[in-house]
Symmetry: C2
């Protein structure tokens, strides 16, 4: 221990960094469990994680943490620095979240969601929502209590308090305000594409490439777009994710399908976007809010931008096509550039959100938002979910949902007690489009550069404008600051219509 007096700010940062050392240790336990751990390790691992999580929570909700925050808040000299103001604002926010829930509610939520997750898996396998319904009802009751504890702005609704956990400042009214004008335009576009007789060829999506070679392609592309393999890894897992412990050790995973290169390629571009964000966070700020990502929506904007704005662009395929055969060790030369580009942009309404294309995806999210908002508000009983779900799929996507497994039981989120989460996926798509338009405006040859394998410019722009700030700005401030405008549906629609209509001969 040093005898030198530390400033209140240094003391707060040390206290937060020690939490982060433990929290990131739990991240490694997670990653290892998903990718590496033998099955026999499960029981002890669960106990390890529970203990570390408890230690982190105790520290983050401790009286000491509160006192340290208050000390910085009342340190006039320190608060003259706007970065410190932002750090303390976010520290105060986190401390509030950590202390507002009574321990009994936290424990009850952990207990019920653990069982609900299990019941959901069983119910999904049996395609039987009735089996899951009582558990979801319990969760909804607990989520309402949570929302009351966290609180929300006057004129708002309980859902806002839940969404704020994932997207600071996000409210149902805000989401509805962005989604409402988007919905009819997406429906119209999807209907027009479906009616077209001149869609792109899907042939490349049935081209056999062994998994080892697809993995080589994933590594090749991830590295070229800017993932730093000295500060990260790419492995395999059942569900792709981006984890790891901190900006210098970011671990993403992909899953492979021998019959569809675009599955793994799209997934790798997506996770690389998340990973490049994590690698772009400032190591000097590690453990503090200024070294953390700002929200799930902004995080998703990074993954979606690399997956969609870059990875589904004609320029990207113009770069990849000539070297594709060499990287995958199979002759792909019979596919023209148009066929490759087209195969990455097939639009087709389906039942499953995680398999959805870029255009229909957001309609899936709107269904979930509408339902969870109504459920939390008390306008919809849990028992009524399947019929509303099925009606909305008919209205929005023109589909008759055949069973609950392919309907309202398909996602794990609600069973984990996560409501207020789904809209961040579409917010991510909206942010991605608006940020990418700003990048293109600022760097006129940007997209042309993709065709020459030049991705550094975009990555550096994102590093500078998004990643380096950590949580200094709120998501909406960040968008306003970088694009000069509040979030709007226009850039996403311009992106989708501008790309998909020509591809479908419209």
């Amino acid at each position: 221990m040093s005898a030198i007096a530390t400033s209140p700010l240094d003391a707060l940062v040390s206290h937060m960094q020690e939490s982060a050392l433990l929290a990131t240790t739990n991240n490694l336990l997670d990653w290892d469990q998903e990718t590496t751990m033998p099955s026999g390790g499960l029981e002890w691992r669960a106990r390890q994680q529970a203990l570390v999580a408890r230690m982190v929570h105790e520290r983050n909700s401790s009286r000491e943490r509160g006192d340290l925050i208050a000390a910085v808040e009342s340190d006039g000299a320190a608060m003259a620095d706007p970065e410190t103001v932002a750090l303390v604002r976010e520290a105060r926010r986190d401390y509030g979240k950590a202390t507002k829930l009574p321990a009994s509610l936290v424990e009850e939520m952990a207990r019920v969601s653990s069982m609900a997750k299990h019941e959901w898996a069983e119910a999904r396998a049996a395609s039987d929502f009735k089996r899951f319904a009582p558990w979801l009802a319990k969760l909804v009751a607990l989520l309402r209590k949570q929302a009351d504890c966290y609180g929300y702005a006057a004129g708002g609704e309980p859902w806002d308090a839940l969404a704020d956990l994932y997207e600071p400042g996000c409210t149902a009214a805000y989401v509805a305000g962005v989604f409402d004008p988007l919905r009819p335009r997406l429906q119209k576009l999807v209907a027009e594409l479906a009616a077209s007789k001149r869609g792109p060829s899907n042939a490349f999506n049935d081209f056999f490439v062994p998994i080892e070679r697809q993995e080589a392609l994933s590594r090749f592309v991830a590295e070229r777009i800017g993932f730093d393999f000295n500060r990260g890894r790419l492995d395999r897992s059942t569900h792709p994710f981006c984890g790891g412990t901190h900006c210098n050790d970011v671990r993403m995973t992909t899953r492979y399908n021998e019959r569809c290169v675009n599955d793994a390629l799209g997934s790798t571009m997506h996770e690389s976007g998340h990973a490049i964000y994590e690698q772009g966070l400032p190591f000097a700020r590690i453990g503090t809010p200024l070294g953390e990502s700002v929200s799930l929506g902004i995080h998703e904007s990074q993954s979606r931008m690399w997956e969609n704005q870059v990875g589904r662009s004609r320029a990207f395929w113009a770069w990849l096509a000539p070297q594709l055969s060499a990287v995958i060790g199979a002759d792909a030369s019979r596919f023209s550039l148009d066929e490759l580009y087209g195969a990455a942009n097939i639009v087709e309404p389906g039942f499953i959100r995680v398999e959805a294309d870029e255009a229909t995806y957001n309609l899936h999210v709107m269904v979930r938002f509408q339902i969870e908002r109504a459920v939390i508000k008390g306008d919809l009983e849990v028992e009524g979910i399947p019929s509303v779900w099925n009606r909305l799929y008919k209205d929005l996507l023109g589909l008759d949902v055949p069973d609950d497994r392919r309907g309202c039981l398909q996602d794990i989120h609600w069973s984990m007690g996560a409501m207020g989460y789904f809209p961040t996926y579409t917010l991510g798509n909206l942010y991605a489009s608006q940020l990418f338009e700003a990048a293109c405006a600022e760097m006129p040859g940007l997209v042309d550069g993709f065709a020459r394998g030049e991705f550094t410019q975009l990555r550096a722009w994102l590093n500078r404008n998004i990643h380096a700030h950590g949580r200094r700005y709120s998501p909406s401030e960040l968008v306003q600051r970088v694009t000069g405008k509040p979030l709007s549906a226009e850039p996403l629609m311009r992106h989708l219509e501008g790309k998909l209509r020509p591809l479908y001969g419209l």
Copy 2:
């Protein structure tokens, strides 16, 4: 928190298990760093490990732990159970070790050994002992202080206190008593083998097999001898080791040399022996001394037994030979059983301990024991190590050491502040031979079974007689209990002479 009153024993076990949850988390951080972590993760990882280690130490040396131990010690009913007596005896021992060193000495040791390890690596690269000598001198001074803090029996010497960390109850006098009669017999055997003109063929040790195929062989053999892949893994690393977090998640590694199948095979058998011990510890006792391995020497006996008594036996090769070509995907049929068996048993004095064969290995260990004992006692100055080292290599192995790199700088142990450690390697060989003789006496067809791929009998015997006890018995008690005799050099000499003399036509 439960409101039910817990017994003093339950409270102690809970307290120890919580330490174990954290300590095994650090084990995973270690394993990950050695096998998986990208290089960029180093700085943060070091901080994670330091924090977790500090938390474990604080807990293990806490007043609370001491009070819990005392409460069980004075609980007459609990102490009626001999298992509890053993548990508390070992808990008291660990608590003593954790509390006897002043924090300042622990920190000084960590600081100096961290720098000494770095200086050792540089000195070894430059083959310049003078560069390392001042650091080793500092370490020796600290080790003497450590020994004073730990204490040792009257009539003993400071080295005993250090050795006791690795091999409970081990003293220099005990080691010398076992080593002294062994030394001339080993020297005589090695000299006779060297003089023989009829040694086995070394040809199989220059047979090219790609690393992937050798890995398949390693997995095949590890599984057959009893390593449970549902409760463990086999990966690659620069230096083979056996780590993991607990009996249900044991992680061993091997390194491969394309030109020598026996390198990886021997290494895999060795690490499998360690791993099978770990997997054999009782999960119900996890976190307590009854769920931990008893000593480094006994641990090494398990690795050496599978590596040497099993893996270098004619019966083992009689089983492996007919299927070797299929497993390694290369035609090894031109090697006769005698050639395969012989290639695993080449004896040849060399400078490097870790490359040594079964017969000369122990002479390498004796050099180190003699030197570190004299240094700790004060009979030898650090500066004098190279000349004593070189003289002993001449006397014991008949070799002229060409430089310090291949001489007294070859091992990392001393630079880490580990003195008292080396003899456990030879104790392991001695225990292995004596235990294996007992196993053979109890199960007459044991070795014949190896030729039919039957290894379960030996593994079950070791599980029952060694693994299941954890630290219930001391190493010497365990040997006495299982073999009916105190440790002696005879079984090792019988094993080596009985095998090697015929192989060398003597």
